[in-house]
Assembly symmetry: C2
Homo-oligomer: 215 residues x 2
C-alpha cells in the first residue's frame, strides 16, 4: 500500500535536514535527496517544487521552536537555570545547523530568510537582555543598561557563530552527529562565559565550576 | 601595444577581489570575471586555470598582510594604540571580506584554506593574548590567565564574525564599498568592547569615550 502524501512530505523534510546538516545546503541537490530516499525526482518535485521551499519549511520549523523556547529566558533566576536554558537553545541550533553553516549565502539567495533571520537574532537579543535583568534582580550581577545591551549582542554573536568557530578548527568533523553533545555543551559554555566578568564574586565562582563540570 | 602578462595577472586578481567582495565567491563565475575585464575566458584560464587558484592567490595575499600586521599587538601600551591596531586589523578584513562571507563553504571545498584559516585564527588569538598582557603590564586591566585566554577567543569570534552579524541586519548593503569606514569602526568597537568589563575604572572610562567618539 502506498503511504499517504503527508507522510512522504515529512520524510522528505527529515532526510533533507539530515543531508543539509551533514554536507551543507550548497552541496546537496534535490536529486541527491530523492536518490537518498529511493523516490523519483518527480515525486520530490510534487511535494516541494524547489530547493528553496525545502529550506523555508525547515527554517520555519526551526524559527517556531526558537520562538517557543526564548520566553523561558525571562524566568531564569539562577545560574543552573541559565545554563539549562542556554544548553536547550544550543541543542536547537545544532539540530538545524545547516542554517548556520552557510548563513550569509542563504540570506543573499532567499527573501524569506533575509527578513526572518534578522528577527530571530533580535528576539534572541531581547531574550538575553531579559535573562541578564533577571540575574541582576536576583543579585547575581551588576551591569549598566549599556553594558546589558552590549553583553546581549556579544552573546548573540557567540551563539550564532560558535559553531563556525568550531568548524574552522576541524572542518571535516565539527558538524558530524557524533559531536552533538560536546558541541552543545561548549556552545552554552562560550555564550555564558561572556557574562562571567560581570558576575558578583560568589556567582562567578559558581559559573566557573559549572563550566568546569559541564564544559 | 599588449600589456605584459604580469600586469594582466594583477588586474585579474584585483577585479576578482572586487567581484568576490561585492557578490560573494559562490556567485561569481570565472566567465563573469573575464567579461567584466573584457578579456577572453581563454586568457583568464591561461593565468589562472581554476577559480580555486584565484581564491588561493587572494587568500595568500590576505594571510601575508595579516601575518605582517599582528606582531604590532605585542607593542600596544595604551587604549588609543589598541584602538588603532584593531582598526587596522578590521580594515584588512574588510578589504578581503569575501573570505568571511562564505568562510565555512570555502573551507569545505578548499584544502589550502582548510589548513590556513585555522592558523590565521590561532595567530590572531596569540596576538590578542599579547595585547591583553601588555595592557595588564601597563596597569590598565586585571585578568587571570584563564580569563586572558577566554577573552582572546571571544575577541577572535567577534573579529571574524562581526561582519556576518552586520550582514544579517542588512544583507543588501552591509558589504557595499560605501560602508567600509563605518564598518571598520564598528568592528574595532565591538572587538575592543569585549575587554571593557576587565578594565580598571580610569581606562574603562577612556575606552568608553573612544567608543563614543569613533564608534
Amino acid at each position: 500500500m502506498k503511504k499517504p502524501p503527508r507522510r512522504t512530505a515529512e520524510r522528505i523534510l527529515s532526510t533533507t535536514l539530515s543531508l543539509f546538516n551533514r554536507f551543507g545546503e550548497p552541496n546537496v541537490a534535490t536529486t541527491l535527496i530523492a536518490s537518498d530516499m529511493g523516490i523519483s525526482p518527480g515525486n520530490l518535485f510534487y511535494h516541494f517544487p524547489s530547493k528553496e521551499m525545502l529550506v523555508n519549511a525547515l527554517f520555519d520549523e526551526f524559527e517556531a521552536r526558537m520562538r517557543h523556547l526564548l520566553p523561558a529566558a525571562a524566568d531564569v533566576q539562577d545560574l543552573e537555570h541559565a545554563w539549562f536554558f542556554m544548553h536547550s537553545v544550543f541543542e536547537l541550533i545544532w539540530a538545524h545547523r545547516f542554517i548556520y553553516r552557510d548563513l550569509n549565502d542563504l540570506l543573499s539567495k532567499n527573501r524569506h530568510l533575509e527578513s526572518q533571520v534578522k528577527e530571530v537574532l533580535q528576539r534572541q537579543e531581547q531574550a538575553f537582555v531579559k535573562l541578564l535583568r533577571g540575574l541582576q534582580t536576583h543579585g547575581l550581577l551588576t551591569q549598566t543598561a549599556t553594558e546589558q545591551q552590549r553583553c546581549a549582542i556579544h552573546m548573540v554573536v557567540m551563539l550564532t557563530w560558535w559553531l563556525s568557530y568550531e568548524y574552522v578548527q576541524d572542518p571535516r568533523h565539527a558538524m558530524e552527529d557524533a559531536n552533538a553533545n560536546r558541541s552543545a555543551l561548549r556552545g552554552a559554555q562560550q555564550v555564558l562565559s561572556v557574562l562571567l566578568p560581570y558576575l558578583n564574586p560568589q556567582p562567578k565562582t559558581q559559573l566557573q565550576s559549572l563550566i568546569k563540570v559541564y564544559g
